[in-house]
């Protein structure tokens, strides 16, 4: 019997929210170190959503966003995607490379690789938190980046979960440094993987 995202109990939702909370706290610390800035965070908001709902949570289909995609393997399998609003690009480029860009099409290979690295560090801290809580091994792939309209980016996870007719977990988190940046962590664990997470926590 595998647990479907659609049928989680309130207690299981709380467990996921707590994992998100701890993970986001670690990610905020990692981001603060990277940007040499004080970074605080809002209370994470967890939602369970289908493709169309995720796109509206991300600001609508044509909203430009920066997405970093990673694949989870070993005990927990599935994909995670970190999605930042567009202005996060310039916060990072200004701090780390001393430059800004006026439009997404100006993004260079170096800019892209800086982002992939940030995605890598932030999502690793997230997953380390989950790993420590659950005692499970979770590996992540090298990151991949896409900067485009939210709807177009979501077509990739949407087509993956479209194959199962399933929903995704989405955690909204604001990181507050010199500017307030909204991020979303979209998680699409395989159904067996959700069971494995809950079992490890007795949920």
């Amino acid at each position: 019997m595998s647990t479907s995202i659609n049928e989680l109990s309130p207690f299981q939702l709380d467990v996921l929210k707590e994992i998100g909370n701890i993970g986001a706290g670690n990610a905020a610390t990692a981001l603060a170190e990277l940007l040499s800035d004080r970074v605080s965070m809002s209370v994470p908001e967890l939602s369970i959503a289908d493709a169309n709902e995720v796109v509206s949570l991300l600001g609508g289909p044509e909203n430009p966003v920066v997405a970093i995609l990673l694949t989870m393997s070993e005990d927990v399998k599935g994909i995670i995607m970190l999605v930042f609003e567009e202005k996060f690009l310039n916060v990072v480029l200004r701090t780390l490379l001393g430059k800004e860009i006026d439009s997404l099409s100006e993004m260079s290979e170096l800019d892209r690789s800086v982002f992939m690295e940030i995605g890598n560090i932030m999502s690793s801290t997230y997953l380390n938190a989950m790993s420590q809580l659950t005692g499970l091994n979770i590996s992540i792939s090298t990151p991949d980046i896409c900067v485009d309209m939210a709807g177009a980016i979501m077509s990739y996870p949407a087509s993956l979960f479209g194959m199962r007719g399933d929903k995704v977990l989405i955690i909204k988190e604001d990181f507050i440094g010199q500017e307030r940046i909204t991020s979303h962590l979209v998680m699409l664990p395989d159904e067996d993987s959700l069971d494995i997470i809950f079992r490890s926590l007795g949920a």
Binding site: A51, N52, V55, G60, P61, E62, P64, L69, L104, S105, S141, T142, D144, C146, D148, M149, A150, G151, A152, I153, M154, S155, Y156, A158, S159, L160, G162, M163, R164, G165
Partner: protein
């Protein structure tokens, strides 16, 4: 311009007169616009996957190329269009993440083209593939299709 009618993900709509159909942010999804210029009836479908066999749990026929295109044509005929006069323009089918090994976009484009061929509807324009998102706007008055993107600007099909 008449009404602007939005076609969502895994959705399709038919329009006529001065109406405009729009579907936002196609990534690996494919938008298929079919037009009968004599009847001035236009249809737009937004499919997520190539085939119904890829998903066992969802029977939404608007979601799959191998069921949606037929249904779009059927609904257009009900509005007075004739299959013999229909032409098609398609957009989307991009590969958004370079590292993903499943080529959903290519599969979707190929499946849509196969369906059009089966139905005998000529494909007169296509803006597919590459790695960027596209919004597709289809005008019932003249069959014009406008493609808008963040990264590559706008074009008319």
């Amino acid at each position: 311009m008449g009404n602007l009618i939005v076609v969502g993900i895994a959705d399709l709509k038919v329009a006529s007169g001065d109406d405009v159909l729009i579907t936002y942010a196609l990534g690996s999804c494919v938008g298929t616009c079919i037009y009968d210029k004599t009847a001035k009836v236009i249809g737009l479908s937004h499919v997520l996957l190539a085939s119904k066999h890829m998903c066992l749990t969802d029977n939404n026929i608007y979601k799959y190329a191998d069921t949606a295109i037929k249904e779009l044509v059927r609904q257009m005929v009900l509005r007075g269009a004739s299959v013999k006069r229909m032409t098609a323009k398609i957009a989307g089918g991009a590969h958004m993440f370079a590292s993903s090994t499943i080529r959903i976009g290519e599969q979707n484009s190929a499946a849509v083209m196969e369906e059009l061929k089966k139905l005998g509807i000529p494909l007169v324009a296509a803006d597919i593939g590459d790695n960027y998102g596209r919004t597709m706007e289809c005008w019932a008055a003249d069959g014009k299709v406008v493609i808008k993107s963040i990264l590559k600007g706008n074009k008319i099909l």
